[in-house]
């Protein structure tokens, strides 16, 4: 009798275990997303050459979908006078290779915060392929 009770107990325990197994759920919500590109950086240029002590203060990229289509750069024009400044935004890949470039050139007077607007990048680049953005401003004799 005791042996039969023990066997029935084991039987019900295993039945319960099998039901538990069927209700087992491993939720994929608990799996963290995998990083393909977990980091990105932006370099803002600052010049220290005669006649050009200007510095970049900010850059903002414009996207259409995932494609970089433009940029707005603000720089502090410290060196006074009326002269031309070429602003270049360079998009680089994971290996540091340039994949796209956008430029704008304008004439600026006085000192203070100035804005350069880059209307396009060539060739077209997806933001997801960009690991580093470089922003440089250069005093040039002429924008032509």
């Amino acid at each position: 009798m005791r042996q039969r009770t023990a066997l029935l107990t084991i039987f019900f325990a295993l039945t319960l275990a099998s039901l538990t197994a069927y209700s087992l759920v491993i939720s994929i919500a608990s799996v963290d997303p995998v990083a393909v590109k977990p980091a990105m950086e932006i370099s803002l240029g600052k010049n220290n050459v005669p006649g050009n002590n200007n510095e970049v203060r900010s850059v903002s990229l414009s996207l259409t979908g995932a494609t970089v289509t433009g940029a707005t750069v603000q720089f502090y024009k410290r060196t006074p006078g009326l002269y031309s400044v070429r602003t270049t935004v360079t998009l680089l890949d994971a290996n540091g290779n340039t994949i796209s470039t956008g430029t704008a050139c304008g004439s600026y007077a006085g000192t203070g915060i100035r804005t350069a607007t880059i209307a396009s990048f060539s060739p077209a680049a997806s933001i997801d392929g960009v690991y580093r953005v470089g922003v440089a401003i250069e005093r040039v004799a002429s924008c032509v």
Partner: protein, 132 residues
């Protein structure tokens, strides 16, 4: 013969539970793509740094970066530990926070303490996001 008959339910139960575990694990592993063979892929995210701005203490050439802001997005929505590192030739400062990121850019402002000299040839703002 009698003991074999008694063991029969036990053996059947063992077989049933083994089959149940196999079925359950098969269903679960089929939805996970860790080995690249599952049916449902694990989310893969890209961090997008869409803007960076620095604040400085003054407009003199030997000024210092006191803080700034970044606009950052992730292709996969979620909570991330965002680490912002600002570097110049004078050194680097790191700021970390937890933020909810999504494909819509989120602006994160940061303060550098102590301030970091803004030296030529410039400053690099690096943003890294890891799942929290």
């Amino acid at each position: 013969m009698s003991s074999a008959r008694r063991l029969l339910p036990l053996i059947l139960a063992l077989l049933a539970s083994s089959a149940a575990y196999a079925a359950a694990l098969s269903m679960a592993s089929g939805s996970i793509d860790q080995l690249g063979r599952g049916e449902a892929p694990v989310n893969r995210y890209y961090v997008r740094l869409l803007s960076a701005s620095i604040n400085v203490n003054n407009n003199a050439f030997n000024n210092q970066i006191t803080g700034g802001s970044v606009s950052v997005a992730s292709t996969i929505p979620g909570t991330y530990i965002v680490t912002i590192t600002v570097s110049t030739s004078a050194g680097s400062r790191t700021y970390a926070t937890t933020a909810s990121l999504s494909p819509t850019p989120t602006t994160i402002t940061f303060t550098l303490n102590p301030a970091l000299p803004y030296t030529a040839p410039g400053a690099t703002i690096s943003v890294r996001a890891d799942p929290a």
